[in-house]
Amino acid sequence: MALVHVPPFESFYEENQDAVLRELRRLLGRDAEDAYQETFLRALRGYGRLRNADNLRAWVLTIARRVAADHYRRREAAPELAEPQRDSRPAYAELGELAEELPRKERTAVVLRYGYDLSYAAIGAALGSSEDAARQAASSGVRRLRRRMQ
């Protein structure tokens, strides 16, 4: 496959800045602006090592989701900082509330999977366990939620 030439960071940044902010707003609500800067700084750190420019949009959105997940975990660690306003609740918030009663590991797996679209590999890394264990935790969390809602 032919390599796609990596554009100057400026063009990449201009083409993706709105999409990244949109995704971060969906995931984090009002914390999106801090995560925005962090996302593009992380992208910049890796940018010089890119060998081709296939799917730069997907690449930067993955970084954004990881940054959002880190923010989410920090919020969990300091819950007094959380609680976004009711009328502008991001996706994860509703899910977080629903999943509140789950065991911690299942809750984290469910929220990261369905609130943040993270891959099981990334969730496994976040939980300090394997990809399979992450998949299992998410699916048993979902089963438990279903039972509770019946």
Partner: protein, 191 residues
């Protein structure tokens, strides 16, 4: 939804401050028009007349690396010295210049060019002789034409043996204006 100017600026400044850029560039308004000014960690690396930012960014990325971003702060010292120069308050630039990608002959000639004083002119032949290549006046002309940082490296001070201005990558009008500003040429009246 779009990114606010404040958020955008904050990222650009953070990127430059973190030392993550190969090249930072910005536009500068001057009496000879809008210039694109670019710097690396080593110093000033490009001044372009009649900038086309997309094209310039591509060319900078090819030479210095793909992490090219528009950011005002790293360019500010250059902008300030250019302002002082055009106000007639500065006769020498005190800026590190990044010539690492120049061929040895070009680098040698550009370093000699840097020492041609404000308000004076020299010739292509004289510069060639100084560089121990007395027959290379034409090659010196090519180096002047490709000078990566015009104004700061004063290729406008290099003229033909007869005293005629000969040529300038930014256009002869600009060469004349710079020499008039420095008092090396009397302003010419249009007849």
């Amino acid at each position: 939804m779009t990114v606010s100017p404040t958020l955008d600026k904050r990222f650009r400044e953070a990127a430059a401050a973190a030392g993550l850029l190969d090249v930072a560039y910005d536009l500068a308004e001057t009496p000879v028009g809008t210039l694109l000014v670019a710097t690396t960690a080593r110093g000033l690396c490009r001044i372009s007349y009649d900038p086309q930012p997309e094209h310039d960014a591509e060319s900078l990325a090819k030479t210095f690396g793909v992490r090219v971003l528009r950011a005002a702060k790293p360019v500010d010292p250059v902008r300030r010295q250019l302002d002082e120069y055009f106000e007639g308050k500065r006769t020498e630039f005190e800026l590190p210049i990044d010539l690492r990608h120049q061929a040895p002959f070009s680098r040698d000639v550009l370093n000699r060019l840097a020492r041609v004083p404000y308000g004076q002119v020299t010739t292509y032949g004289a510069l060639a002789a100084e560089a121990h290549r007395p027959k290379a006046a034409r090659a010196v002309g090519v180096v002047m034409n490709r000078n990566p940082v015009p104004i700061v490296l004063p290729c406008h001070r290099v003229v033909g043996a007869s005293g005629s201005l000969v040529g300038y990558a930014g256009g002869l009008d600009r060469k004349q204006l710079l020499l008039e500003l420095e008092g090396a040429l009397q302003p010419q009246l249009d007849v």
